[in-house]
Amino acid sequence: MSHERKSNGAKRERVFSLSGIILTAIILAVLLPLAFSQKPVADLPPGSMQAKATTSCLECHEARIILQQRLSKPAWTKEVDKMVKWGAVVDANDRDALIDYLSLNFGPDQPAYAPPRTSAAKSSGKK
């Protein structure tokens, strides 16, 4: 058989290339999950109201519910007032700044939010 006729040098080369593959696989195994990992719960964008919005809004739901909206300022005003009625704690002095922050970051002209997906099942038999 052909592999029996290979020289020691060729064998060594094969061992090196094998270890190269294994090393690459290890690196990929470590790096890929990092590259593809997605925090289950997203963050709100930076800004002077980020911390207060996080406290007021994310107590009850996660940031993606906000990140995916594309609303005008009047529509954000209605939403903030509805959420305050539904228990969101917003200092009266912060209401206008919160509406400005949401309108600025999530107005109708912003590009659509690209949501993540849940991981695909590893085996097709688990449907």
Binding site: Q38, P45, P116, T118, S119, A121
Partner: protein, 381 residues
């Protein structure tokens, strides 16, 4: 993954929040679904999964208004879960899961669609979960008929509506998720207290241990984690009946406010079709191309799906799939000989009531019942 993308994932959070979310989130049992929200859980089915008549539970969309019940034990034999039935009845009833399971089981294949499916396609955009086209799926639901349960209680002549309460955990001062359906629909033998989906016990995301299943109606009618049924003398009054889940009596101009008195509660679904392939943005080789998808019409039947490959100038009937049931979608397919070029492919369904998908959606302030002619743009080389 490219080095650039790796660098992006390591970039400070100041940049990453705005970038496309290319990663995936592990959620056991939920396979390849679009995460509209993780907490509370709202998952959308990508349209490419609309290629089987029954949607596997792992691909089935999830719509939660609030947090799922945390106290519910999986051990139903020893669970303190009960289903109570009361209100305008002679003999109020409390059922354990074991008692519920002993009632005669019925199965209904139902296309379940969230009223807000397609909301993100409305212009101007409206608040709410920004569903694309996939807050819909078809499954075989099984469990006792609601009528069998109600008839044991002796409904009084004053009983006109049936209220469902689930065990959703309410955050803050959010009104509880309680809705009602008219007694006529509740007494339809196809309306179930479902305990199973595609032959397996309901998963928690889908309402374990029991949910209402109101076939042909908006998904919100089919209350999950059901624990209380109450017969009322009038429609339930609460946020999720008014102003929630109402539709303008007359179509208005996009963006225009609608007075609450000029609206009615949503009930049955609309006529609708969705193209599940080719996918929007696809590049294909010239030759035979199978255009395919699903079409449904709530309590009505699909009689025709037409496809246009010339931007809506001419339409050709697609072939309807063999599998059908009263409340279930029909799969459809159209074999097209494609020459090179850029195309917009349309699909348009017509139902047994003579309703046809409109060219433009009927805009409404909450973005319900989007059912405009579906379209995908593709390139053929």
């Amino acid at each position: 993954m490219s080095g650039a993308a790796l660098a992006v994932s390591a970039a400070p959070s100041v940049f990453t929040w705005a970038l496309p979310q290319s990663g995936s989130i592990d959620m056991p049992g939920e396979n390849g679904l679009i995460v509209r929200s993780f907490r509370f859980v709202d998952l959308e089915t990508p349209v490419e999964y609309f290629n089987t008549w029954l949607t596997p539970v792992s691909h089935f969309f999830v719509r939660n208004h609030m947090h799922e019940p945390s106290e519910l034990s999986g051990d139903l034999a020893n669970s303190d879960w009960r289903l109570t039935v009361g209100g305008e009845v002679d003999r109020p009833l409390t059922l354990t899961f074991s008692q519920l399971s002993k009632l005669e089981t019925h199965s209904v294949v139902n296309t379940l669609e969230c009223a807000g499916n397609g909301r993100s396609l409305h212009r101007p955009q409206v608040p709410g979960i920004q569903w694309g086209k996939g807050a819909v799926g078809t499954a075989r639901f099984s469990g006792p008929s609601l009528r069998d349960i109600l008839q044991r209680t002796g409904i009084k002549p004053t009983g006109k509506h049936v209220m469902f309460r689930g065990l959703d955990e309410v955050p803050g001062k959010v009104p509880p998720f309680i809705r009602s359906i008219p007694i006529e629909k509740a007494l339809d033998s196809d309306t179930l207290v479902a305990t199973h989906m595609n032959g397996a016990p309901l998963t928690k995301h889908h309402g374990f241990p029991a949910r209402a299943l109101v076939p042909g109606w908006i998904g919100a009618a089919s209350c999950k984690w059901l624990t209380e049924i109450k017969i009322l003398d009038s429609e339930f009054v609460g946020n999720f009946m008014t102003p929630g889940y109402r539709f303008p009596n007359q179509p208005g101009k996009p963006g225009e406010a609608v007075k609450p008195e000029d609206t009615h509660p949503l009930t049955a679904l609309n006529v609708k079709s969705v193209i599940s392939g080719p996918l929007d943005g696809a590049s294909l080789k010239a030759g035979k191309v199978a255009v395919h998808g699903a079409a449904w019409a709530g309590e009505s039947n699909i009689v025709k799906v037409e496809v246009s490959t010339d931007g809506g100038v001419t339409w050709t009937a697609a072939s309807l799939g063999h599998d059908q049931a009263r409340y279930a979608w029909r799969l459809w397919t159209y074999e097209w000989k494609a020459n090179g070029g850029d195309y917009t492919i349309f699909s348009r369904a017509t139902d047994s009531e003579g309703r046809t998908q409109p060219a433009d959606p009927v805009w409404n302030p909450s973005g319900y019942l989007y059912n405009a002619v579906d379209q995908v743009k593709i390139h053929v080389a």
